[in-house]
Amino acid sequence: MVDHGRISLKGVNVFYGKNQVLKDISLNIPAHSITVIIGPSGCGKTTLLKCFNRLLDEVEEARVEGEILFDGQNIYAPEVDVTQVRKRMGLLSQKPQVLPMSIYENVAFGPRIHGLQNKKKIDHVVEKYLRLAGLWDEVKARLSEPASRLSIGQQQRLCLARGLAVEPEILLCDEPTSALDPQSSRNVEAQLLRLKENYTIVLVTHILRQARRLADYVAFLYLGELIEFGPASEVLTSPQDPRTRAYITGEIS
């Protein structure tokens, strides 16, 4: 048995009230690679991402059916501790959301709430992940400043460092460069490409060129349905479904 899907979705339906936004999604997301979810806006990309770390739990009218298996365990099983699920998946959102505290504390926040207290160890963790996110040299002299003083691009890399500091296995990225300038976008993309060796990355984007630059696998969502999934080279260059082709050639957006 080849179990290379770290996350597998089996018949996932999501409803907002009576409105079905995801329809019977089944998908295996391979480990240590970048899976890019593309599709026109409103197709359910972000919702799909929020299923993975159960952020949909916070949306009162949202209901999830089906199974999402993470290393073989259904994360929607009743006995699952949702904070543990989330700890194993880092999130990078559209706009960087720095916590209202210092640069240092932003990175230390995750490890602290999960029980790390030793000052030296926290120092070490903060430096390690700021380096991993490619931000250390820019901020090492001003770690105690409020994180909100960083530029927006730096904030996004801080969010990356903060997410990595809880030592997740998966990184969920929701259009992580949409608020950034081209230079900062390239910077974040470069970090993601470096990180895929050790992490499984799921990235939502509406920028096809970004998908081309980053994707190992591509999933195309349209009106809540998974239309096509496969290696990037296949889906992006010779799509099987006419709807995928239409999206990639820019006929639907």
Binding site: T83, R86, P100, F109, I113
Partner: protein, 292 residues
């Protein structure tokens, strides 16, 4: 271009209006208070506890302490309840509950204060005199500092709650999600992220509540006892400045110096409110500057 100039000038003048009005009120009260100030020193009038208008003794200290203590008791009672209610409504309550509670709370904010006064006399006064005071081994008529504090607390809570709910609601959902995504529990998100982000706004909510508490007159006057002494305990009567003014202004003004003394009391009340709101504003702006 010309029209714009006119609009700017008109709105500029209107902006001046409140400033002029406040200054005029201040000046009128100050001029009325002046005769007494020429007879006795500021410090004597403020710090003396002797209030015997017939004998020409106008010590305002009991009233100042009355004002401060009623406000403090009300604020200390209202603050925790309001903040927890607001937190519940903003962070934990299902949408349906929120939609039911908020209008009800707004309704409470709009009730005439005399209704609160009557509620205090009907319910809180007996409760305090029959049950609470004996529980603490003392006796009380029920018309006391504690009763006034409770009534006033209930009156300022809707304001604090409403503003706090709005403030908490303005914390971006994606910020909460960012913290949750790190594996934080709901409580940790509230404790370390939401409360921190919302702190300046919550403080502003408290200032609004406090400002209302300082000036509230009728409801307090109905239950506070109105005895011009410094209250010895929560169960003693007090006499805050607004009650003093409402009870006496316009009557017995034939007593020499009396009107002047009441005006001085009004002036002190104004100064107290202004000093408090200035301090609060100062603190608020520092808080905002630091969090930027």
């Amino acid at each position: 271009m010309k029209k714009e100039g006119l609009a700017a000038r008109v709105s500029g003048l209107s902006a001046f209006f409140p400033v002029v009005l406040v200054s005029a009120i201040f000046l009128a009260i100050f001029l009325k208070a002046l005769p007494l100030l020429s007879l006795k020193s500021w410090s004597h009038l403020i710090f003396s506890s002797a209030w015997q208008p017939q004998k020409g003794e106008f010590g305002l200290w009991p009233f100042i302490i009355g004002t401060l203590s009623v406000t403090a008791v009300a604020f200390l009672l209202a603050l925790p309840v309001s903040l927890f209610t607001a937190l519940y409504l903003a962070e934990y309550a299902p949408n349906r509950a929120r939609k039911m509670f908020l209008p009800a709370i707004d309704l409470l904010a709009g009730l005439p204060s005399v209704i609160y006064g009557m509620w205090g006399m009907l319910m809180v006064v007996p409760l305090v005199s029959k049950y609470l005071a004996p529980l603490f081994g003392t006796s009380s008529s029920g018309y006391c500092l504690l009763t006034a504090g409770v009534v006033l607390a209930v009156m300022i809570m809707p304001t604090i709650i409403h503003v706090s709910v709005e403030v908490l609601g303005s914390v971006p959902v994606s910020l909460k999600e960012a913290a949750l995504a790190l594996g934080a529990t709901r409580f940790e998100v509230v404790r370390y992220v939401i409360l921190k982000k919302a702190r300046p706004g919550l403080l502003a909510a408290c200032i609004l509540g406090l400002a209302r508490a300082f000036g509230e007159t009728i409801a307090v006057l109905m239950v506070v006892g109105n005895v011009p002494e410094i209250p010895r305990s929560l169960f003693s009567p007090a006499y805050p400045i607004p009650a003093l003014l409402a009870n006496n202004y316009g009557e017995m003004l034939s007593i020499p110096g009396y009107e002047s003394a009441l005006n001085l009391a009004a002036l002190i009340l104004l100064l107290l409110v202004i000093i408090f709101s200035l301090l609060a504003r100062l603190y608020l702006s520092r808080l905002i500057r630091r969090s930027v």
